[in-house]
């Protein structure tokens, strides 16, 4: 177990492409950090640099209190779970799990004991003699987990470990991984492009875009107080509504109504509001026309346009709405305002 520190870590490929701009953050001992972002945002590159599978172009990486910039992956005291599991196809489950230990010159009896413990923890005891090709996707995922757990590392690295599983299994494994990490208390870095995984699993989320950090924060902070329009539109399904509005005399005007007061300069501004922070009712002040109702059982999503801009509203299953004119109001406490030029939160 260990804290991890990245100081001005940068990645430039030989062809000049800068995959990661100088990036710094610290991870506390036992913390579960999720790197999330669209494909090509540099999250995997960052993780692979921590693993030692990619060279670090600039900056200092330390695991524990040790600078590991030039330490072999095998000596970094890490374990990694890969997207396609990366199991050794010619080895049985037992050998797959024990291989890393064998190379650390640990006694065979001790390896066997550790493999048994890991297999029991992951419900793999009955499959130890099988080859990976004889296992289902979920079981392979567990073997990959077992291979990581058995090493008792200082740091777990997960590279989109659930993206090859179907939706139901993904949901189940999400909880299992999280529970396992809690139980073992091992510091973890988890890379995903799936914002639901990020929200549900992370102690802290790091949102990346185009090789730079957009925001670092707890899931609640990221969700409710996004630092930029990018974070606002990337996190959450459906994402935060972003409406172009005008600010004059410290008031944001939306369709002729004062939506919220703001401590901002006059001019164009972007108003962000989560779909569930919009209220529907007769007494509300803004007229709105619902074009489409998405019925999702537990709740409904209303889609329409306000001032020519798309708006999505989330209402509970008890609110009866059909397509047509309604009245809405925006919860001023939930509004996040962004600079129209830079997209940064004000």
């Amino acid at each position: 177990m260990a804290q991890v520190s990245l100081q001005n870590i940068r990645k430039v490929y030989p062809n000049g492409y800068e995959a990661v701009v100088p990036t710094s953050f610290d991870i506390k001992d036992g913390e579960f950090v999720v790197l999330v972002g669209p494909s090509g945002c540099g999250k995997s590159t960052l993780l692979r640099m921590v693993a030692g599978l990619e060279d670090i172009s600039e900056g200092v990486l330390s695991i524990g209190d040790r600078n590991v910039n030039h330490v072999d992956p095998a000596d970094r005291d890490i374990a990694m779970v890969f997207q396609n599991y990366a199991l050794y196809p010619h080895m049985t489950v037992r050998k797959n799990i024990g291989y890393g230990l064998k190379n650390r010159k640990i006694a065979a009896s001790e390896i066997e004991a550790k493999v048994q413990v890991a297999a029991k923890m992951l419900n793999l005891t009955d499959f130890l003699e099988r080859k990976p090709s004889q296992l289902s996707g979920g079981q392979r995922q567990r073997v990959a987990m077992g291979r990581a757990v058995v090493r008792d590392p200082a740091l777990f690295l997960f590279d989109e470990p659930l993206s090859n599983l179907d939706a139901k299994l993904r949901h189940q494994m999400r909880i299992e991984i999280k529970a396992l990490q809690r139980r073992l208390g091992v510091t973890s870095i988890y890379v995903t492009h799936d914002q639901v995984e990020a929200m549900t699993m992370a102690d802290r989320i790091i949102v990346l875009n185009a090789g730079r950090i957009e925001q670092i924060g707890t899931p609640a902070e990221i969700y409710h107080r996004p630092a930029s329009t990018f974070v606002a539109s990337f996190m959450g399904a459906p994402p935060m509504n972003l409406l172009k509005a005008d600010c004059s005399e410290k008031r944001v005007i939306l369709k002729g109504n004062v939506a919220v007061t703001a401590n901002a300069a006059d001019g164009p501004i972007v108003l962000g509001i989560r779909p569930e922070d919009i209220e529907v009712g007769e007494a509300c002040d803004i007229p709105f026309t619902v074009d489409i109702v998405e019925e999702l059982g537990a709740h409904r999503l209303l889609h329409g346009q306000l001032d020519g801009q798309d708006l999505t509203i989330h209402v509970g299953k008890d609110v009866a709405v059909s397509a047509g004119p309604i009245r809405i109001s925006i919860n001023p406490d939930a509004v996040v305002l962004f600079d129209a030029e830079t997209g940064l939160a004000l």
């Binding site: 992956p73 050794y88 196809p89 890393g100």
Partner: protein, 293 residues
């Protein structure tokens, strides 16, 4: 799922016919002919033949020269197969690690593939020329007076070297593509699991290359036994007397130089049976231990 098929029975047979005809004409018919003539003693001038039963075979069994050539062929096959596989694997592993200029290396290494065996033999003849061959000069600088075509051991060395040189590129291509088909993430997982690159190679890379290796083993044994004919022919041309030769070359020498069609046929039948047995043995014993993904 419905299988695609032909409406009539005759069309598929008709389409297969040219290929079957070629196999029958150039393989089964000569093979059958060889089996038949191995039981006859042929008149050297083609004035008829007489049935002699297994005489041709029993004669070979008691022939010490045939035994010596068989021994040499065995040694030759083992050496050529081992060195062409080992060198090709080494080169492939190295080329696989190269990032800059990888294409050029690979192209250069593959070029030799395009050289025909007799041409390879001829190049060997030039390289080992007793008076000015660069490789003979090199051997001389180490105090080894290299005498191609005169000294048995020297000729055998040249035969092995040229045959290996000729075969390495083919093996290299297969090994390289085998290496590149190993998933990158599996190698990366090994990188985290094992510090020593030696261990990683023998525990992960090599077992995953085994299907390619097994295929190449069969191809290389067949090559060393049969396809080296061109190399052997050029290197010992004219004076097979004291020079090393392989069983296949002996078939040619006895049959076409010595006009002993019967004896030569018996030899080729023995070779055929040998290769058949060897292949069956390999599939039974070696293949069971190989993991195919």
């Amino acid at each position: 799922m419905k299988r695609a098929g032909f409406a009539t029975r005759w069309l598929p047979i008709l389409l297969l016919l040219p290929q079957l005809a070629i196999i029958a004409l150039f393989f089964y018919w000569p093979a059958a002919h060889a089996v038949q003539s191995s039981f006859y003693l042929e008149d050297p001038f083609g004035f008829g033949s007489s049935f002699v039963g297994f005489d041709n075979y029993t004669h070979l069994a008691g022939n010490s020269e045939y035994g010596r050539i068989a021994q040499f062929t065995l040694l030759f096959t083992v050496l050529v197969t081992f060195f062409s596989l080992a060198l090709a694997l080494l080169l492939a592993v190295k080329a696989d690690n190269v990032i800059r200029g990888a294409k050029m290396y690979r192209t250069l290494l593959m070029w030799v593939y395009a050289v025909a065996p007799p041409v390879a033999g001829f190049i060997g003849l030039l390289m080992f020329n007793q008076n000015w061959g660069p490789l003979a000069e090199l051997a001389k600088s180490f105090g080894w007076d290299f005498k191609l075509g005169v000294n048995f051991g020297d000729t055998a060395t040249a035969m092995v070297l040229v045959s290996v040189w000729k075969q390495v590129p083919v093996n290299f291509i297969f090994f390289l593509s085998g290496l590149q088909s190993i998933p990158k993430s599996v190698r990366e997982a090994a990188l985290i699991d094992a510090r020593s690159s030696f261990r990683r190679f023998w525990d992960v890379t090599f077992p995953l290359l085994a299907p390619t290796g097994f295929f190449l083993l069969i191809i290389n044994i067949t090559y060393a036994l049969f396809d080296t004919f061109g190399v052997v022919d050029v290197l010992v041309k004219g004076e097979p007397g004291n020079n090393p030769m392989t069983l296949v070359y002996k078939v040619y020498v006895d049959g076409f130089r010595g006009n002993d069609i019967g004896g030569s046929s018996a030899q080729s039948v023995i070779l055929m049976v040998l290769v058949l047995a060897l292949t069956i043995f390999q599939f039974r014993l070696v293949e069971r231990r190989i993991h195919y993904t």
